[in-house]
């Protein structure tokens, strides 16, 4: 995990599946404490996410919403993962960006608006 502009940015090294989804959710939700309004999950190095992994992302997005924070996913456009995201409706439940920079700049924009 690294923090960029105070925002935790996490880039999983491995696939997200039934073997690690729960521990990853615990780890990720632990980064969102007071004062953190966004968590960036960079999935550009991730090849596969199975249904257990996707369930975890939906639950994590909901958990963050309750804490008044947003989950931002970074997924390479037109990739297999982007296609999978469309199948299960990821973009309807959380913000999906093409790069970490995009995710962070949107946040700046939002705070300027606010």
């Amino acid at each position: 995990m690294e923090r960029r502009e105070g925002v935790p940015v996490v880039r999983p090294r491995e696939d997200i599946d039934a073997a690690n989804a729960t521990s990853l959710r615990e780890q990720l939700s632990g980064y969102v404490d007071v004062g953190v309004d966004q968590l960036v999950l960079d999935l550009t190095g991730t090849r596969y996410i199975d249904s257990a992994g996707l369930d975890m992302l939906f639950r994590l997005a909901e958990l963050l919403r309750q804490r008044r924070a947003a989950l931002a996913l970074v997924i390479t456009p037109d990739s297999n993962l982007a296609r999978l995201g469309e199948i299960v409706g990821l973009p309807n439940a959380m913000a999906v960006y093409a790069s970490v920079e995009d995710a962070l700049s949107t946040r700046v924009q939002r705070s300027l608006d606010g």
Binding site: E14, D15, D17, R47, D50, S51, L54, R83, I87, V88
Partner: protein, 552 residues
């Protein structure tokens, strides 16, 4: 305190009678000693030592007799058997080397006589409490190595002479042989049990890889222990291969090995990269403060991309044998052996591994010969591996070992070998996996390698692989609670379609829907057909993806 005979004693008046008595005693003792070998067969070491001390005490007309054995790892002598001083054993008296009476006998490797204990430096309070006045101690040694001390004591003041010393030394020498043998057997059996328990029961059976391994305990007795190998699937789905050698032999080396092996697995399963694992292990070993070092080599193999990543802590370089029989040492950036000092610098190197290649990990016992430079051993190994690669009648590990033994003669040290061959995958694959989520990443890598090899487009590879992974996750869920259950995956690429079947034998409740809603939806969206067949004895899911050879 004096060397025997170093000071004129009194009591010469009775010398004649004493000499005769002692001669008789000596004869008896010798007689007794001559039967010790035969007695060893059925007397335990404890019984044998007790018997021996009894005879010595009588033979030397002493009041006490005791034997202390050296614990080399802690540098102390520990009371093992006693006559007239039984509390010494019960209380587990320990005398540091070079200190006190017994400690000085052991450190100086020669007999010591104390005529008057009240004026001597004695560590063990029991000797004084018991009222011992005079003592004679001799070293117990095997092949020039001190393994303990045998001593006798008297309540009355007496100056033990050269003859007494010779007799006690004779007894000590006989005891030494018995102790050494008993210890070797004892250690060997304990070490053997530990060693066996610590090596993998079976090697993974996976499509596209063939594992073989061999472990041979060292030539004689306590020389075994401390070498190990391990193979397991990492969280990334890649394979982790480990080989190591703990410096030292016997039970202690085997126990250090057990600690390293378990910690190493834990660190790797937590997902730490190889250099971090080495660093953590090094810290662990240094902090254990047991002055134990170990050499370890770790490889992370990805057959899908054909890469090997390696890290070494002072271990001999892994050997890679190419399909055409060329043998090359992989020279990972060499780090210090583990346990020497904090902060070792461990780096990985990456290599290519072609289909048809074999990677071999081994311990130094395979290549080292006494009085020979290590390079000669490595050259011999390379030649042996080349010859072994051309032969197919046994596993690679067996072949290499056979070639080397035929070439180099008997082995003095433990030998461990671990080999993995990268095999080509055909249009059909089949595997049985343990029903636990940890296998999913590995399954996806194998399917990925297979489908890429079959010439499928990246998008098709992704779809089939993820759909199969979903079906496998369901099979694992069905097996929940069952012990050691497994499921089967088979795949066929037949012209314009790929068909993958995942079968489990899980007990299945008809009321429960198949899989999670999302899982089934993903499967159906990714492949052209997903058939679920529920039987009494399990469930089979068959996934079909049609392959258009023309670009869409």
């Amino acid at each position: 305190m004096n060397e025997p005979g170093g000071e004129a004693g009194d009591g010469r008046i009775e010398a004649g009678a004493r000499t005769q008595e002692r001669r008789d005693a000596g004869r008896q003792l010798e007689q007794m000693l001559s039967i010790t070998d035969a007695a060893l067969g059925y007397l335990s070491l404890e019984e044998m030592l007790a018997e021996l001390l009894e005879r010595i005490r009588d033979g030397l007309q002493a009041d006490t007799a005791a034997i202390l054995l050296l614990d080399e790892d802690r540098g102390v002598l520990v009371a093992r058997a006693a006559r007239g001083l039984e509390e010494e054993v019960r209380q587990g008296v320990q005398v540091p080397l070079a200190r006190g009476f017994a400690g000085r006998v052991a450190a100086g490797r020669r007999p010591i006589v104390i005529e008057d204990l009240s004026r001597a430096d004695v560590v063990n309070p029991i000797l004084r409490q018991r009222g011992i006045r005079s003592m004679l101690g001799v070293p117990v040694h095997v092949e020039g190595r001190v393994i303990g001390v045998m001593h006798v004591g008297t309540l009355e003041r007496r100056l033990f002479d050269e003859e007494d010393t010779a007799l006690l030394q004779l007894a000590a020498d006989r005891a030494a042989i018995a102790i050494d043998r008993a210890r070797a057997t004892e250690q060997r059996s304990v070490t053997e049990i530990m060693q066996r328990a610590l090596l993998p029961d079976e090697l993974p059976a996976l499509p596209g890889a063939h594992f073989s391994a061999k472990y041979l305990p060292g030539g004689s007795g306590v020389k075994m222990g401390g070498d190990w190998y391990d193979v397991f699937q990492l969280p990334s789905g890649r394979l982790g291969l480990v080989i190591g050698d703990v410096v030292g032999r016997g039970v202690l080396a085997a126990s250090v090995m057990a600690e390293i092996r378990a910690s190493l697995r834990a660190y790797l399963m937590e997902g730490h990269p190889l250099p971090a694992v080495m660093q953590l292990l090094n810290e662990l070993l240094v902090s254990m403060g047991r002055h134990r070092s170990a050499t370890v080599a770790m490889l992370e193999i990805d057959f899908e991309s054909g890469t090997v990543e390696g890290v070494s802590a002072g271990h001999l370089p892994p050997l890679i044998v190419s399909p055409d029989g060329e043998a090359t040492f992989l020279e990972p950036a060499q780090g210090l052996p583990l346990g020497i000092r904090r902060g070792g610098d461990y780096r990985t190197r990456r290599y290519r591994i072609e289909v048809g290649s074999t990677v071999l990990l081994y311990t130094d016992g395979l290549v080292e010969r006494r009085g020979e430079p290590i390079d000669e051993g490595l050259d011999r190994l390379r030649a042996a591996a080349r010859r072994a690669a051309r032969n197919e009648d046994a596993t690679f590990a067996d072949r290499v070992y056979r070639e080397l033994v035929e070439d180099g003669g008997a082995l003095e040290d433990d030998v461990a070998l671990l080999a993995v061959e990268s095999l080509p995958l055909g249009p059909e694959i089949e595997m049985t996996l343990n029903a636990e989520p940890g296998v999913l990443a590995g399954l996806r890598r194998i399917l990925g390698r297979w489908l890429i090899g079959e010439g499928l487009a990246e998008e098709q590879v992704f779809s089939i692989t993820l759909a199969a992974s979903e079906a496998a996750a369901n099979a694992i869920e069905h097996a929940y609670g069952a012990q050691e259950s497994s499921f089967r995956v088979s795949g066929v690429h037949d012209g314009d379609e790929v068909r993958v079947t995942i079968s489990d034998e899980g007990h299945w409740r008809a009321t429960r829907p198949y899989g999670r809603g999302r899982g089934l939806a993903i499967m159906r969206a990714l492949v052209d057909d997903a058939q679920i067949e529920r039987r009494n004895d399990g469930t089979s899911v068959t996934l079909v993806k049609r392959i258009c050879s023309e670009p869409a």
